[in-house]
């Protein structure tokens, strides 16, 4: 039974870590876009 529990734990840790990495990457890029748009607007205003 411990091998079965181990396999499921490994699979879900893999999935969780990967999904977390996707969320972080997407969030970081969206922050970059917001910052770059602000810079672009500042430049157009000045």
């Amino acid at each position: 039974m411990e091998y079965l529990a181990g396999a499921f734990a490994v699979a879900w840790i893999f999935t969780f870590v990967y999904v977390l990495s996707l969320v972080r990457r997407q969030r970081r890029l969206e922050q970059d876009i917001a910052m770059l748009r602000e810079l672009l607007e500042d430049r157009q205003r000045s």
Partner: protein, 237 residues
Amino acid sequence: MGRGRDLWMLGLDSVAGAAVLVAIYMALVWVPDAANLTTPTERAAQHIFYLHMGMNIGAGLGYLGAFLVSVLYLLTGRRIWDMIAVAAVELGVVFGAGVLATGSIWAKPTWNTWWTWDPRLTTAAIVVLVYVAYLMLRGALEDPARRARFAAVYGIFAFASVPLTFMSIRWWRTIHPVVIGGSNAEAQGAFAMGPSIRTAMFASMIAFAIVFFALLAHRVRIEQTAEEVEQLKEQLA
């Protein structure tokens, strides 16, 4: 990104989550133990098979998908195919590593070892390394057009390692069970696949296929957002 697309992706995520719950229930509760396995440890460990086969589908879709979109990229030069290719390869590597990990955990109670240099295990590990090299190659090339072209050519040639792995248990003497399309008399840990085991296996494979497409949609969106960042940087330069 559009609100319609967000809703569509949320729907796909929900379907994937529900499908995984059904697959887990079928693998752990609904399906009976394999009748021909003798020890309780082996019988419990056999349930890892459903997880292992699901991950196999995820990895296979990643490698096959990368091959197909690489061909499409070389034919059309459209950037979206390159984005899907890198997303598919990354998922192929994640699921491929999952296949190796779950297989290794199953092997310990069944073969009494975590790892052996069996043709199937060796070729499966090589496939993962070949696709890790794909991701490293992309990281080493700066020019996006050149990177996409090289990656597409690599993605096409890399796929040759996938049918080799699939056929390895049919061509060479191996202890790995042949699950689909045959049985190997020498396989240790093989089990008779009755209708309930087959149903649970296909449920797991379908669930992981849906999970694959849900994750692929998210990963492609990251590529598209990254391209938007690059375009904004060019405007500022």
